[in-house]
């Protein structure tokens, strides 16, 4: 033990801890203050935001106000304004003297009332007290004496001193009277004042209304209001609290500008001198889509249901945006903000209003068009097989039920026969009868379900072509080349690249080749390529298909590019396909799970005929698949036209089919088994119909709720760390790298967005560095998507979440809006939007084509108000047969003058029903439609209408077809004779008043009628017979059109042939002969 000097005094007793305490105390107090500061500011960064907001917004309002004032000064120069302002001044001046008088009177009266009131209330209180005393007094004498007291008291008088100094004495009764009298007077005066001021307020209201009506922006007064609000702002948390949906969103504590009525951009909120908008400026912008906020009121929806993030958190930007570990709902990235729509609108293929150019809709379309649902289940997509399944289940159930019912009925009847009393017997018999009736109802249901399954079989489509036909259809040697890398042959094909090795290619192609049909095809004649080209370009093929490569490419992307089809396709098959793509080589029986051939029909002695009307299996009567499962419709071309088009397409090839290397190994039966394995492995049957794979399930994961999968469930494989730290971009392939929407990773991307984008850009990325056998490797093929497509699909997937919102927040309408939802699925399924415009602003494929730039009137009609325009029953007929004829089908039924053809889609009853309802619902039409009664015109009215109809000022028949082939050559509008069955009269009236408002850009001009008082009159010179006619001319014309007969039309056409049309003499209404009609038709040229 080292000797230490022992101190003199006991250190334990003498040692001072003062310093320790001082230091500890200081630190403790500091900590306490720190805690206070942290609570007040450290945890509340939004306070700084609100301070900043106050300054910047005030400054912004300053400039906005001066601008607004400028506009107001301009407005004030307007004579209309000056007139109003003058009126206001006059009103003011007129009322002035009386107003002042009245105001003075009211002030005086009020003072007097006050004076009387002072005395009166005191006395009244005493009187009330006495009265109560009397009421509760029990002895009669006491009552009497007290009553006397009261009377005496009431007789006493008191002095009231009025404001002008004079005094007056009143007893109680007079005091009360005086008080009431004064009050009455004041009420009267006030009423009069209101009356006097009425014109003044009216005039000034008019004035301010005029300003706000004519200002695009806010008025200076409104801006001043905002300024005051901002200046008076005290920092406080802003929150939206919706208890029913557990929404607590405090986003607006920092995002102060979101709901401001002015448009605030990051640039406009940047302080002067700063180069880039800082974080404050970015936070203060107003919502970019204020219209969305109108339909989704923030007070009900908050922010986080759409944008996600942690709405409660206010401690930091990361916390509030939910961009931290352990928060399951991080803010949707800016680029994918529309993912939020999907959380509630998953069932909408088109988001209800104004869906033009929305990323999320693009994602939904891509998911279907690219065939994603072939491998991945997603609620709502490709649901026919599932429905078919449930329908057959139901049928089974009902049949079981029927058997039981029959048994029970027999049982009951037996009991009835043996019943003891007649009542009992009758009761049992009634029960038995009820069961039999319910069986007949069940029969009806089963019948319905049978129809339903017939429809569903018809509705089932595949993204890729039927591979049972490859032998008939394809150049054998081409197949391996195609499988190697489809994009080499067709850069924009839907067929993805499966990264197959040579062995896989050999065996897959062998399997497909050997399992295909070998039925003979009818030989086709070579046609006229030039005519074929013309037809191809004008009939509407290009709305879906494209032709030409690179810069030369034109047409739509919905279906294949046909440039090199000549290298792969067999001409005979091609002709059959163009003529009717749905024509199947052999029908397929899903029950027997086999393709039915002529031999099966022969066994039953039936003719080998199968189509939608003959869709029963000859062996067992089950519903057959009688069509190719393609969405390609029939254009109702003649076989010659089909030959011409096929011939044209064959000429486009880049090299001869014979130039492909020989692939006779495909005939090797040894490869077939191996091939089957790989076909199954890669899920080829998801998109193609392949023999032996008709019932194959999907091979991918379900994606309905992919966005809410915990991040741990997304397998980043060897890139987990890389993604978490964002050290490097794992994709090295240049082409794939170019697909990443945000470019190569610059920071951490360990989130759903990062996973989806990398997966879509290079689907096997997460195999990189891993050693896997061919069967274990990731199977997802490369869909060669571009940046925008990947962004759209990522948005779609990010939004595919299991929403935590209550069901009432999900957009699952039960009314006609549901018809709209269902309709869009069909519209998108058949690419109707490639030809028709459904939404204002939507560009169809055809609109973008060069061919139509000069002749927009040749474009297919816009369907903006289709439901309001046509009779639903007619629409159903038209959709099932657009030629409107059973014999003359090679034409358009309504618009024969259009080269582009409305094809026959052979919609199932199911789809027809949905489509008709869709159009009706889209135009808010009631169902069922009850046609309006069109009044029969008097002879005079008929004459008038006819004369107008054929006047040079209203040359209707110049453009509208008449059925006269000579005339119809130059016609650019439908025949009036169709109107009666096709159109709704109210719509026609709206149409002729302003066609441009109904269908912008139509050939039919506006301004044909003008409003004269309350009457619509023809804008041009009217025939003399119109003198004194006081009904709407529009109505007259519509009625006339709806009563038009072919004879009448001929008569009018004839009348137009003559120079100046005045009136056709009445009485010439005899049916004109065909010869004369032709002549007069010719005469109009």
């Amino acid at each position: 033990m080292p000797e230490q000097p022992i101190p003199e005094h006991d250190p334990i007793v003498t040692r001072s801890y003062a310093l320790h305490y001082v230091v500890a105390m200081v630190i403790l107090m500091a900590t306490l203050f720190w805690a206070l500061w942290d609570e007040g500011f450290g945890q509340r960064p939004w306070k700084a935001y609100q301070q900043e907001w106050k300054q910047r917004y005030t400054a912004f309002l300053g400039t906005a106000r001066s601008k607004s004032e400028h506009t107001v000064t301009d407005l004030e120069k307007n004579p209309e304004y000056q007139q109003l302002s003058q009126a206001a001044e006059q009103a003011d001046a007129a009322s002035k003297t009386r107003k002042n008088e009245l105001q003075k009177q009211i002030t005086d009266l009020s003072a007097q009332i006050l004076a009387v009131q002072n005395v009166f209330t005191d006395k009244r209180a005493y009187v009330n007290y006495l009265t109560y005393d009397i009421e509760t007094e029990t002895s009669a004498s006491g009552k009497e004496s007290k009553k006397k007291d009261l009377e005496e008291y009431k007789k006493e008088t008191w002095t009231v001193e009025f404001p002008d100094g004079h005094k007056e004495k009143y007893d109680f009764r007079h005091l009360e009277e005086k008080y009431n009298e004064l009050k009455d007077e004041r009420t009267k005066a006030s009423a009069e004042l209101g009356e006097v001021l009425k014109p003044v307020t009216e005039a000034s209201t008019k004035l301010s209304e005029y300003i706000s009506d004519h200002m695009v922006d806010l008025t200076p007064a409104q801006i001043d209001g905002l300024k005051k609000k901002t200046a008076d702002w005290d920092p406080k948390i802003m929150q939206i609290n919706v208890a029913e949906a557990n929404i607590v969103d405090r986003c607006e504590s920092c995002h102060m500008g979101i709901r401001e009525p002015l448009k605030l951009t990051a640039a406009s909120m940047t302080p002067k001198g700063a180069k880039k908008p800082d974080e404050y400026a970015q936070a203060f912008t107003s919502h970019p889509e204020p219209d969305l906020l109108k339909t989704h009121d923030p007070e009900k929806f908050g922010c986080s249901p759409c944008h996600q993030g942690n709405g409660r958190a206010t401690t930091s930007v990361e916390k509030a945006h939910g961009n931290y570990e352990h928060w399951l709902w991080p803010l949707f990235p800016k680029q994918n903000a529309e993912a939020g729509c999907q959380t509630c609108h998953a069932a909408d293929m088109v988001l209800v209003s104004g869906d033009v150019g929305w990323t999320i809709s693009e994602g939904k379309d891509l998911f279907r068009q690219k065939g994603c649902m072939g491998c991945h289940r997603y609620e709502g997509y490709d649901k026919e097989p599932e429905e078919l399944n449930s329908v057959s289940q139901q049928i089974k159930q009902f049949e079981q039920q029927k058997i039981e019912n029959t048994k029970d009925a027999a049982d009951l009847m037996k009991q009835a026969d043996a019943a003891e009393s007649n009542e009992e017997a009758n009761r049992l018999n009634d029960k038995a009868v009820a069961l039999r009736v319910s069986n007949s109802k069940l029969d009806g249901r089963i019948q319905q379900l049978d129809f339903q399954s017939h429809s569903l079989l018809q509705d089932m489509k595949k993204v890729g072509p039927n591979l049972k036909d490859v032998r008939l259809k394809l150049n054998r040697n081409w197949i391996p080349v195609w499988l190697k890398k489809p994009t080499d042959f067709r850069p924009n094909t839907k067929m993805p690249n499966f990264r197959l090795n040579d062995e896989q290619i050999r065996s897959i192609s062998a399997y497909i080749w050997q399992s295909s049909f070998t039925d003979p095809l009818p030989k086709q004649k070579t046609g006229n390529a030039e005519h074929g080209r013309e037809l191809f370009e004008t009939r509407g093929c290009l709305a879906c298909h494209s032709i030409g490569e690179g810069d030369q490419m034109q047409g739509g992307t919905f279906a294949a590019n046909l440039t090199r089809v000549g290298e792969k396709a067999n001409f005979d098959y091609l002709v059959r396909w163009i003529h009717n793509a749905r024509q199947r080589t052999r029908p397929y029986c899903p029950y027997e799970k086999k393709d039915i051939g002529p031999e099966d029909y022969a066994k039953k002695g039936l003719p080998y005929v199968f189509d939608l009307q003959h869709s029963r299996c000859p062996n067992d009567g089950h519903e057959l698949q009688v069509q190719n499962m393609t969405v390609m419709p029939s254009l109702r071309l003649s076989i010659e036209d089909a030959q011409d088009i096929a011939t044209y397409l064959m000429t486009q090839k880049k090299q001869e089919p014979s130039a492909y290397a020989d692939a006779s190994f495909m005939e090797d039966p040894k490869l077939k088994e191996e091939g089957k394995k790989w076909v199954r492995q890669f899920g080829c049957a998801g998109c193609h119909e392949i023999s032996g794979f008709e019932d194959e399930g999907r091979i991918g994961t379900e994606l309905t709720f992919e966005g809410s999968k915990p991040i741990e469930r997304l397998d980043f494989a060897l890139f987990t760390e890389v993604a978490q730290r964002g050290e490097r971009e794992p994709i090295t392939d240049k082409q794939d790298l170019a697909r990443l929407p945000e470019g190569p990773a610059k920071g951490p991307w360990y989130d759903h967005k990062g996973f989806f984008e990398h997966k879509l850009a290079e689907p096997n990325i997460y195999d990189q560095g891993k050693i896997k056998s061919d069967t274990e490797a990731l199977r997802m093929p490369n869909l060669h998507l571009d940046k925008e497509q990947i962004r759209a699909l990522t948005t779609f997937l990010l939004g595919s979440e299991e929403s935590s919102l209550p069901a009432s927040y999900q957009y699952k309408p039960g009314d006609t809006r549901r018809d709209i939802q269902e309709g869009w699925w069909i519209v998108k399924k058949y690419n109707c939007m490639g030809c028709h415009q459904f939404i204002p602003g939507q560009r169809t494929v055809l609109m973008g084509m060069k061919h139509y730039q000069d002749i927009p009137e040749q474009l297919p009609p816009k369907l903006l108000t289709e439901g309001a325009r046509v009779d639903p029953e007619w629409l159903r007929k038209f959709l099932s047969n657009p030629s409107l004829s059973t014999t003359d089908t090679n034409r358009n039924g309504v618009r024969p003058y259009l080269a582009v053809r409305m094809p026959t889609f052979s919609f199932s009853d199911n789809e027809l029903r949905k489509l008709v309802r869709f159009f009706e619902a889209l135009s808010q039409q009631p169902i069922p439609y009850i046609p309006e009664e069109v009044p029969t015109l008097s002879a005079k009215e008929s004459d008038m209408a006819r004369s107008l109809f054929s006047s040079t000022a209203a040359p209707c028949l110049k453009c509208h077809a008449t059925g006269d082939p000579q005339h119809d050559k130059i016609a650019t509008a439908p025949n009036f004779l169709l109107a009666k069955e096709r159109l709704k009269p109210d719509w026609v009236e709206r149409w002729i008043i302003d066609p441009q408002a109904v269908s912008p850009g139509t050939s039919m001009p506006s301004g044909l009628f003008r409003k004269q008082g309350s009457q619509w009159v023809f804008a041009g010179p009217t025939p003399p017979s119109f003198q004194g006619y006081d009904k709407d001319h529009t109505k007259l014309l519509v009625d006339y059109i709806f009563q038009l007969t072919p004879e009448e039309q001929r008569r009018v056409a004839a009348a137009m042939g003559r120079t100046r049309a005045s009136t056709a003499p009445p009485g010439t209404g005899k049916p004109a002969s065909a010869a004369r009609m032709a002549a007069s038709g010719g005469g109009s040229r």
């Binding site: 007793v13 801890y17 805690a35 570990e325 928060w327 060897l718 987990t720």
Partner: protein, 309 residues
């Protein structure tokens, strides 16, 4: 060296106490060691000179006759207690302001955490799960630890070293306790926190916690090594091995204890001695089993139809 991974582990809010505990423990061990050394030296001196032993105040701290032997609690003790309370408050406040308590995703029975770790103070037991079946690691062992701790006063017959730090006079007791507390409890916690990554696999500090890491390990049972196939034979064999361990180990320990700690040995009754031996052997059995597992991949020693050891 993956510093980021290391930092991620060390800075996880719930791991911070462990990180703080290590230097704290080191400091207190140092403090104890310093005083024990001073006392041991004093004891040496006093033993050497009985004269001094009679007069010395027998503490390593300086003392002068005339200084009071007792002091008032108020203020001399309480001032320290208040100071300590203040310092603890400060530490707690600063810690609470700067570091937020962890709050992860809402509980989700369908989403297993990898690694799913028990609270850090139970990580020693969780680590034991690698070497023992849950019934031993999770139930028997904690029970034995508690009972073992509770019997300490009754089996420690050494009257020396009561009320002062010493090493010389209590080598066996302190050595055993340090082994149990530092090696078996604290270091297991450190391993469980810093070393055990996804899949409860062994990651050296600075190694990246790769969720996809696969390791190859075939664990065998001891009977298999000897080619014993029958279930009964296995059970009997295991019983023999385990029993043998206690017998042979007990004999060896007995030899050593008797030789190096004769006074304690003399003082202890049979019951005290056998209880001590049981707990000592059981405690030593843990690292022995761990060694078997880590070095020879031996999973079970004793296999019976009802339980395995």
């Amino acid at each position: 060296m993956d510093w980021r991974q290391l930092w991620e582990i060390a800075s996880a809010p719930d791991n911070v106490p462990i990180v703080g505990m290590i230097p704290l423990l080191a400091f207190y061990i140092y403090l104890a060691w310093k005083q024990a050394k001073a006392n041991d030296e004093l004891i040496g001196e006093l033993e050497a000179s009985p004269a001094m032993a009679k007069t010395h105040h027998r503490k390593s701290w300086p003392f002068r006759p005339g200084w009071s032997k007792e002091v008032h609690v108020w203020p001399f003790l309480l001032r320290i207690e208040f100071l300590a309370a203040m310092i603890v408050t400060i530490i707690l406040m600063v810690w609470s302001i700067t570091l937020s308590a962890p709050l992860e995703e809402p509980a989700n029975p369908n989403l297993t955490m990898n690694p799913a770790k028990a609270p850090w103070y139970f990580l020693g037991l969780q680590e034991m799960l690698v070497y023992f079946d849950p019934w031993i690691a999770g139930v028997v062992m904690p029970t034995l630890i508690i009972i073992g701790l509770m019997v300490i006063p009754y089996i420690d017959t050494n009257p020396l070293g009561s009320g002062y730090y010493t090493w010389k006079q209590r080598k066996f007791a302190i050595g055993t306790f340090l082994f149990g507390f530092i090696v078996l409890w604290i270091s297991m916690i450190i391993i469980g926190t810093f070393i055990r990554g996804p899949g409860w696999q062994w990651f050296w500090p600075g190694q990246t916690w790769d969720h996809n890491r696969l390791i190859y390990e075939v664990n065998r049972d001891l009977p298999d090594l000897f080619g014993i196939a029958s279930n009964w034979a296995k059970a009997v064999f295991g019983a023999i091995v385990v029993g043998g361990y206690y017998l042979v180990g007990g004999f060896v320990a007995h030899g050593l204890f008797r030789r190096y700690n004769p006074k304690d040995y003399k003082r202890m009754s049979l019951l005290q001695y056998s209880i001590m031996m049981f707990f000592l052997l059981t405690m030593v059995g843990l690292p022995a089993k761990m060694l078997l597992r880590l070095a020879w991949h031996i999973k079970y020693v004793w296999i019976t139809p009802w339980f395995n050891v």
